[in-house]
């Protein structure tokens, strides 16, 4: 049997069959260089066994225990879609450190981030400004209403906010399925950013994420540099057909009521 390096490694790993073991041991007895190679493989195993040992000895952080308890979102059985990506995990992790908010509301935000195909969420008072909710749950579909619906219908994308406006429209585009969609930011209250698409019955919110309004100045409007949450940009990337609408395209779409 030819003694190759992978045979020596398999021997050290305890993966060699009886025949190979015998052959390796015979070769070791006869050849000091082979003995040295086997020793080197054993040394490497020993060195690596202590690597990243801190992960084994540190207690797991509370957020991972909470994840095991299923406290990060709706219960698995009612969850319609999986978490999109790590950005979503990060967004949920980062947001509660901002102004503390009631736990119930937080569960709703995490559900929003989690669900691209938004399903059954007990949504009451989502994105409320004052007492009127901006997003409502209509038979499992999240739809924009009130000030948000109005802004999506009327406002020009990218325009500066006047002090009485609570919603900023980021970009308008058409999807590969020939729907008109617009990104939005609610800059009052808890702060929320998302993407809504025009369906025959109204604006459906496809994705939304907590977006604490850190950049809001004294006058109440958001200063420059407020980023679109990654979960929202990723959804835009996935849905957009070509480039965003320019001012002319947007005006034409608006004139047709954001329909085909």
């Amino acid at each position: 049997m030819k003694i190759t390096e992978d045979l020596l490694m398999a021997y050290v790993d305890g993966e060699a069959d009886a025949e190979t073991r015998a052959a390796v041991e015979a070769a070791m007895a006869a050849d000091g260089a082979i003995r040295e190679r086997v020793e080197a493989h054993r040394r490497l195993r020993g060195t690596l066994s202590g690597a990243f040992g801190s992960a084994m000895s540190e207690p797991a952080p509370e957020r991972l225990l909470a994840a095991v308890r299923g406290e990060h979102g709706p219960s698995p059985s009612s969850r319609p879609a999986e978490i999109v990506d790590l950005a979503a995990v990060r967004a949920r992790k980062a947001a509660p450190k901002a102004p503390p908010r009631p736990r119930r509301a937080w569960i709703q935000w995490s559900a929003l981030v989690a669900c691209l195909a938004i399903g059954v969420i007990a949504a009451r008072g989502l994105g409320s400004i004052g007492t009127s909710p901006m997003i409502a749950d209509r038979h499992g579909t999240l739809v924009a209403q009130g000030g948000l619906s109005q802004a999506l219908d009327q406002q020009v994308a990218g325009s500066a906010l006047s002090p009485d406006q609570a919603v900023r429209i980021g970009v308008s585009f058409r999807t590969t399925e020939k729907l008109y969609c617009r990104t939005f930011q609610v800059v009052r209250g808890d702060g929320l950013a998302g993407l809504a698409c025009r369906a025959p019955t109204g604006w459906q919110v496809r994705v939304a994420a907590a977006s604490p309004a850190h950049g809001v100045g004294a006058a109440g409007y958001r200063t420059a540099g407020s980023a679109t949450p990654p979960a929202v940009s990723a959804t835009v990337d996935a849905m957009i057909d070509g480039a965003p609408l320019d001012a002319q395209g947007e005006a034409a779409a608006k004139a047709r009521g954001w329909r085909e």
Binding site: G53, M56, I83
Partner: protein, 183 residues
Amino acid sequence: MKRLSPFVSSLDRESALDRFQREIVDLLPRLRRLARILARDVEDADDLVQLCVERALGRRDQWQAGTRLDSWMFRIMKNAWIDETRARARTARVTEQGLEADHVADRRIPTMELRLEANAAERALAELPEDQRVAVALVLIDGLSYREAADVLEVPMGTLTSRLVRGRMALQARLEGAEIQVR
């Protein structure tokens, strides 16, 4: 009425875990170790573990009791990581991938010499291509058999062993400065 302290209520919830969840809790240290080797960043690693746990809970009906939960969850983590790296490539997000070796190495390792050795091993490991890094992690660090590791990675045995051989050669060359020839 006075509210329970968070500590007490957390204990209550702990005892309410079912067997599947308790087994996941027991696996957390190994999941975190593998995640650190994949993500090369402690915070990213815990994000990856969290994602993996959430996916596992969401798919628990796909897990067959009596089969190995560790391999099943490692596979979920591996796939979650592939999704993540694809997403990063798509959005061309710039990430700080620098390995903070001392941050990652175990501070409880008794002697400075052994600690330096572990640090050096971690740094050398971080420089390996990902496929070799994961193969080495599963077999040499976590202690899975070749068969189990190949199943986690969903590759043929031959692919796994060749990654192991190349990964080890590179590690030995870095750690011992030895030029090794494959015979």
